[in-house]
């Protein structure tokens, strides 16, 4: 789950990590008032749940009220990678001498939280990683210890030559790790973390994403969620135990298992078709899921055919078949359906489908080819 910059910085501030003075605004009038209050220069920043807003013109410096006004007019309502800008953050301009990168994420290889730090902050860390990988320091955090003071010192003295800054960083980095752990984050990033002209550390930007699997125990984080239209559908799906992502094609897919779902999409594309969605009905065997899944697929008006690809493991084929029958009784499905069913209780499942006179094929590639021909 993603949150906005302003939300991330509110969390950082709660942990006493210094952030810029700023005001969240929804209208041009609010931006004007905020700019007058904060003084100049100030920065007007689009709040959208996607990266690359800078390049898209979503961040503007304002030296005057007129600047702030025109920035607000330009940014509010702007479209950034399909996201409409509905609010902006007006932040006090800060004079700084240096930009640092500090971020925490999960490292699959060491199976631990890793603290990434670089003296080359202010740009996208992926670019630094590509151009100058040695400029990124990585510290795997022992989960039994966390960031103890000595670990924080190691990072701090690698980033700062000045011991006053290092001391500030030691405190800040320990808090940053605490934020990560306390919120079940998957990313906590301050970029840039600046050294102000008066020699203090300050978070100019903040980014946080969270582990969806842990949201059940993070009600405060969950409350920050602001899903867009597609995400609402995805969340609705998640709520039903489904994993759904809308795509642009016309072949609706219902598959159990993410890998098989991806392979199904690959197969459709391989034979020249276009999948309308990724839809994983997951690893449990509740018939209602199939009903929900069918509703979800049919809510997309582009869908011309539904391809069902079930390989039964924990999901029993007879339950899938019952769910299908039930779904087709509830919803009038006017478009063709192609079904491929195999695995646990497949015999019972196929029997049920045969009785209901539904089209069944044996292999994935057959199913894909038939679906394409019917689309």
């Amino acid at each position: 789950m993603k949150i906005h910059e302003y939300q991330a910085k509110e969390i950082l501030a709660r942990y006493e990590i210094p952030v810029t003075k700023e005001v969240l605004c929804y209208t041009v009038a609010e931006v004007k008032a905020a700019a007058e209050k904060l003084g100049y220069p100030c920065v007007v920043k689009a709040q959208v749940l996607t990266g690359g807003r800078g390049k898209a013109g979503g961040v503007k410096l304002a030296r005057t009220l007129a600047d702030a006004t025109s920035a607000a007019e330009a940014i509010l309502g702007m479209d950034i990678k399909g996201f409409k800008v509905e609010k902006v953050l007006v932040a006090q301009g800060v004079s700084f001498v240096n930009e640092i990168y500090a971020g925490l994420t999960i490292d699959r290889n060491t199976k631990s939280v890793v603290f990434m730090a670089s003296r080359e902050g202010g740009v996208e860390i992926e670019e630094v990683a590509k151009d100058n990988p040695d400029a990124i320091l990585k510290f795997a955090i022992d989960p039994d210890l966390g960031i103890t003071p000595f670990v924080a010192r190691k990072i701090a003295y690698a980033l700062f030559d000045d011991s006053k800054l290092a001391n500030q960083a030691v405190v800040m980095f320990q808090k940053l790790y605490q934020v990560f752990i306390d919120t079940d984050a998957s990313l906590v990033e301050i970029n840039p973390l600046v050294i102000t002209s008066d020699g203090n550390l300050l978070a100019l930007d903040g980014k946080m994403t969270f582990d969806d699997n842990a949201l059940f125990r993070q009600p405060e984080i969950l409350a920050l969620n602001e899903p867009d239209e597609d995400e609402i559908k995805e969340l609705y799906a998640k709520d039903k135990g489904l994993s759904y992502i809308r795509l642009d094609g016309n072949i609706g897919c219902m598959v159990n298992g993410a890998g098989l779902a991806m392979a199904t999409m690959d197969m459709i594309k391989l034979y020249g078709g276009e999948p309308a969605n990724f839809l994983d009905i997951g690893g449990s065997s509740n018939p209602q899921k199939v009903v929900d899944a069918m509703n979800l697929i049919l809510s997309d008006k582009n869908v011309k055919v539904v391809m069902i690809n079930i390989f039964g493991g924990i999901t029993r084929c007879d339950d899938v078949a019952k769910g299908l029958i039930s779904a087709l009784e509830q919803i009038k499905v006017k478009i063709p359906i192609v079904i491929r069913l195999s695995g646990t209780n497949s015999k019972e499942g196929l029997e049920i489908l045969k009785n209901a006179n539904l089209p069944i094929v044996e292999t994935m590639s057959e199913a894909a080819q038939m679906a394409i021909s019917l689309a």
Binding site: I106, R108, N109, K111, S112, V113, E126, A129, K130, D142, P143, D144, I181, D184, S186, D211, D212, N213, A214, F216, R217, S243, I245, L247, V255, N256, G257, A258, G259, L260, A261, M262, A263, M265, D266, M267, K269, L270, F278, D280, G282, G283, S284, S285, F311, G312, G313, I314, R316, S342, G343, T344, S346, T363, M364, S365
Partner: protein, 290 residues
């Protein structure tokens, strides 16, 4: 032979009194797996499908000598269940549960390592050594005893692959679903080594996915340590960038983890990569001169 699970496996089922735990316990018993006990706190003394239930893993291990445990408990409790199995001396733990918080996995990893407990999963279908033991939720009918070792980040994709192999007359030594979560137990490298060391595995199928760099690391490992033929398939070749496809593992982040990068890494390590699973049996037969 096989890797990890076989006729000597003495299996414990944690969460045996749940719907899925109970259902798959029966399936595993039907296949001939030696299910020696179940664990469900507060239900000690009961029986499920003739299997005795204990309150704690420690009790169960003491009474049954279990050496392997499969976990079906709800995601919020799965990591603790794995710790419990490890503390009780269980050498191999398989977490089937889906949705385990990543930091829970981070927290338990050092403890399991310290205790010498091997972990498979979470969010995985488990293992199958045809003719030896089923320790998981895989559909047994599609398997056939033989000499192909298989590992996969995806559950159902594994079944798909096994189905293709069996249909082509290629049996399997062991099939391992390693799970699709960001932090998981045994991964490609450890399993490649086990298959390399298993005399009855003649070739290896590695089913990969977009996201992360595990396939790239596997390619490097194969180049250095694996002499047996390896073929691969990467799921998600046509997935749109930036979208999370169910598995937390399957995220394409800028510049790393794309299907193209993984395929290139494999090919440079001498691993053939199939465009669709159905190509793999043919590739294997050619490599094994069958």
């Amino acid at each position: 032979m096989s890797i990890l699970v076989n006729k000597n496996t003495k299996l414990l089922v944690q969460g045996i009194t749940g719907r899925d735990g109970g259902f798959h316990t029966q399936k595993m018993i039907d296949y001939g797996t030696n299910v020696v006990g179940g664990v469900s706190p507060g239900k000690g003394g009961q029986e499920v499908h003739g299997v005795p239930v204990f309150n704690t893993v420690a009790d169960a291990v003491k009474k049954t000598g279990a050496n392997t445990s499969i976990i079906f408990v709800p995601a919020a409790y799965a990591a603790d269940a794995a710790l419990e199995a490890s503390e009780a001396g269980v050498g191999l733990v398989i977490i089937i549960s889906e949705g385990v918080p990543t930091l829970d996995m981070v927290r338990i990893t050092p403890y399991l390592k310290k205790n010498g407990t091997k972990l498979i999963g979470a969010n995985c279908p488990g293992l199958m050594s045809p003719g030896e033991a089923l320790v998981g939720i895989l559909p047994v009918s599609i398997f056939k005893k033989g000499n192909i070792g298989l590992m996969s980040r995806s559950g159902t994709l594994t079944y798909e692959m096994v189905y293709q192999l069996t249909s082509s007359g290629l049996g399997q030594s062991t099939c391992v679903g390693i799970g699709g979560d960001p932090v998981a137990g045994l991964y490609y490298e450890e399993l490649l080594q086990m298959f390399q060391d298993d005399p009855d595995t003649h070739a290896i199928v590695l089913m990969g996915e977009i996201g992360g760099d595990a396939e790239e690391r596997a390619a490097e490992y194969i180049r250095k340590h694996v002499t047996k033929p390896v073929v691969s398939f990467i799921a998600g070749q046509t997935a749109p960038p930036g979208k999370r496809m169910g598995h937390a593992g399957a995220i394409i982040s800028s510049g790393t983890g794309t299907a193209a990068e993984k395929i290139a890494a494999f090919e440079s390590a001498g691993v053939q990569v199939a465009k669709q699973p159905s190509e793999i049996p043919g590739m294997l037969k050619k490599l094994l001169n069958l």
